[in-house]
């Protein structure tokens, strides 16, 4: 693979039930590119958690996935309320998700820690009232 493969997705923030469609698409694309199942799983889970977060907290956003020869980058951008305390948000079990989201099986405060767990690097830039950008890298 000489040239980077770029995938771009709009994440719809209106409908929780459709959240995850971009992650499913990324998974299919990585499979077609012959990426190893272990890497595919790491990228899919990190992206899925990010997508769910965007829908729950930020009213949707955009996701870019770029597959290079040596790594896969996942860039998630939203224009939601931003994260007030990133250190706190990174703690397992801390969540600001509303109860209705918990009844759907999410909001256990595992999203960001999971994204960190399944990627080789994760950088969060967030500004209150402006939005959040999360850049994750999985090495190949």
């Amino acid at each position: 693979m000489n040239e980077a493969v770029k995938l771009h997705f709009l994440v719809d923030g209106e409908d929780f039930t459709s959240a995850g469609q971009a992650s499913v698409q990324v998974k299919k694309s990585l499979r077609q590119l012959g990426i190893s199942p272990e890497i595919i799983r790491k990228v899919s889970i990190a992206m899925y958690e990010g997508e769910i977060n965007m829908v729950i907290h930020a009213g949707g956003g955009e996701a870019d996935v770029v597959i290079y020869e040596d790594r896969i980058e996942i860039d998630l951008i939203d224009h939601g309320p931003g994260i007030a305390n990133i250190d706190l948000a990174m703690q397992e079990g801390f969540s600001t998700a509303p109860d209705n989201i918990r009844s759907l099986g999410f909001g256990a405060g595992m999203g960001l820690p999971n994204m960190k767990r399944y990627t080789d690097s994760m950088k969060i830039d967030s500004e209150l009232g402006k939005g959040t950008r999360i850049l994750m890298t999985v090495n190949l």
Binding site: T17, G20, F106
Partner: protein
């Protein structure tokens, strides 16, 4: 354990994926919190849950699972069945509650963490 054996042990009704009942699986997990499934599950092929929404399917797909058992007679929606057919996932439902369903499978050799029993 064959997926068909899971069906028999739980007196479950297969909703879709009948053709995969001969497939072997080696571990399972039970949870209604998809966040926890994504955080703690590793290599489990079967998910037992009482939660019914499309994110159950997507979570299972992200984790490379092959079979979902809905406990407490929970019934997936048509949209969920369509998603399952698309990804080749077996769906079944049982009247048993989570504790009993997990216990039956575990007692019959289907382990939790891929460990040999």
């Amino acid at each position: 354990m064959k997926i068909g054996t899971i069906k028999d042990l739980l007196n479950a009704e297969v909703i879709c994926g009948e053709e995969a009942l001969e497939r072997e699986v080696y571990s399972a997990c039970g949870s209604d919190m998809m966040s926890d499934v994504l955080a703690y599950v590793k290599d489990q092929a079967v998910l037992l849950t009482g939660l019914v929404n499309p994110q159950v399917l997507r979570t299972a797909e992200m984790m490379d699972m092959v079979c979902i058992v809905f406990v407490r007679s929970k019934c997936p929606t048509e949209e969920m069945v369509a998603l399952a057919r698309e990804s080749g996932m077996v769906l079944m439902k049982t009247k048993k509650r989570m504790y009993e369903a997990c216990g039956k499978l575990y007692a019959n050799g289907l382990c939790g963490n891929g460990e040999k029993r």
